[in-house]
């Protein structure tokens, strides 16, 4: 921003800053970087600054009411598409582009074509929102929605909480989408009550709106699925990969580490132990979600089962500083990417799954269907 000749950010009241990568700092270089961000926030009197420990930016931004229906949100991380969960148009950008926005106050945007993803039915027991979006990505493909605005619709959606809508929008980028948007309804309204920082105006498609494509899915027939090494769209049903030995299980990331996600894992793990050859790491996506999970007893259940609880932040998901894998190891993760080397070692493998599947696999020591372990719970 300064290199471009601007002394201060344009409209600082619209700026929300979170320090979430590599937190707490693992090196002096990182600590100095964090400090630089802190000083910037102080210098410009930024009202919305969330320091180390508050959590992952996408979670913190949304839970504090910064994401509102009808807004256009620019963000410096690819999973900024997440806020479509509350009916916002939320777009990801690279760092220089965000600096340009701070310096100049505007950005060019190409209006994308729109695509509909129609979700019919109710999720069967033991099958979760994460399974549904992985299934969609597996069918549509990693570039199936490149540059498109994806609108989710269908009778599944009213049954989904905001937390369950989040993974759909969060992982829209894994299909190449520019944005992923959920409809506004009573669920959205309830979520925003007491959270919303200002008035808002929901958005909906015009009657007769034109779509380039519509993908239809009936979720009633879905089973748990996983993204298999080494691409997100390499999706297979759990039956096909069950039995594969795992060494590490990660329940974290912006995608699936809210208190309800931890609750699903706790439901599987209650009274059971993590397999002796498996390391289970749990990182709630924000301090608020951590507190809620604690209030409900999930943290205790996870700890008693043998999990390690990490602080909220971005780390293991992208191979930063915790839970790096050894050569030849396999990790099952509730995060959003499994590219080769994603978690810090190109000689390791990553499977993506729902929190329940992650927990079931942690118990068995191998990729496992969560449904038998959820029976009667």
């Amino acid at each position: 921003m300064r290199e471009m000749g601007a002394d201060a950010p344009f409209e600082p009241e619209k700026l929300v800053v979170t320090v979430d990568h590599w937190t707490p700092a693992e090196s002096a270089r990182t600590a100095n970087l964090h400090r630089g961000v802190r000083l910037f926030a102080q210098e410009h009197g930024l009202k919305h600054f969330y320091d180390v420990g508050e959590g992952i930016c996408h979670q913190v931004f949304m839970e504090n009411g910064h994401a509102l229906p009808g807004q256009l949100i620019m963000g410096r991380d690819s999973h900024n598409t997440s806020h479509g969960a509350v009916n916002a148009l939320s777009l990801p950008f690279g760092l220089t582009e965000v600096a340009y926005l701070l310096a100049v106050g505007s950005v060019w945007l190409r209006v994308p074509e729109s695509v509909r993803i129609h979700l019919r039915g109710r999720l069967p027991r033991g099958v979760f929102a994460k399974d549904a979006i992985l299934h969609v990505i597996g069918r549509v493909g990693a570039d199936g929605c490149t540059y498109k605005s994806v609108e989710f619709e269908g009778d599944l959606i009213p049954a989904l909480s905001i937390s369950e809508r989040f993974p759909f929008c969060n992982m829209a980028v894994e299909m190449g989408a520019k944005a992923g948007v959920m409809p506004f309804d009573k669920v959205t309204e309830r979520y925003l009550k007491g959270r919303a920082k200002k008035r808002y105006r929901p958005i909906a498609p015009d009657p007769g709106a034109r779509y380039e494509n519509t993908f239809e899915f009936d979720v009633r027939g879905l089973t748990p699925v996983l993204s298999c090494p080494h691409t997100v769209d390499n999706v297979k049903p759990v039956e096909e990969v069950a039995g594969r030995t795992i060494h590490q299980a990660f329940l974290g990331s912006c995608t699936n580490a809210r208190h309800d996600d931890l609750g699903e894992a706790a439901r599987v793990l209650r009274g059971r132990r993590v397999h002796p050859d498996v390391r289970l790491m749990v990182a709630p996506s924000s301090r608020l979600e951590y507190l809620e999970a604690d209030r409900r007893g999930y943290i205790r259940t996870l700890l008693e089962a043998g999990a390690m609880i990490l602080n909220p932040g971005c780390g293991p998901c992208f191979g930063a500083h915790q839970g790096i894998l050894a050569d030849g190891e396999v990790c099952i993760s509730s995060a959003n990417r499994n590219f080769r080397g994603r978690m810090g070692n190109p000689r390791a493998e990553i499977y993506l799954a729902s929190p329940a599947t992650v927990a079931a696999s942690a118990v068995k020591g191998e990729i496992a269907d969560p449904r038998p372990l959820l029976r009667g719970r």
Binding site: D143, K178, R342
Partner: protein
Amino acid sequence: MGIPDVYSGEIVKLGDDINTDLIFPGKYILVLDPPEMRKHLLEGLGEEYHSRIKPGDIIVAGRNFGCGSSREQAASAIRAAGVPVVVAKSFARIFYRNAINAGLLVLTCPEAAEAAADREPITVDLKGGRIELPGGRAFRFPALPDFLMEIIEAGGLVAHGRKVVAARRARPEA
């Protein structure tokens, strides 16, 4: 600033879905210094992969080049290695923007990308909108919009931003 009308170089051929974790692993996202960045270019394909790439080389890739993270170094590391152009069957959205902002030319030409072979010579005629491969094979590609070329010709978004901010300052407040 201005850029050449024609680029000639050796092809570095890559496949489909080359993602940003391959192009520039996540653990290096705090590396912003160009000489250091280029050491980690395409490290996902091998720790010494960057030594295969010399200034003037042109990357030719398949579909969905640059998919994944919004990390800018996926584009700026390519630039730092002296590669001026990437030709691909298709680009992922965030990478495409980051490339323009880094002053890296990103040209969509599926036919040329399909026909190209590793280590062959390639010529990109920006003005004429043509890509030439050995044996007289030529392929057309769509020109980039003027306002995007403006950013590239300025040398990237920082330089372009400087101009915009300065111009704004020179104008009286509306």
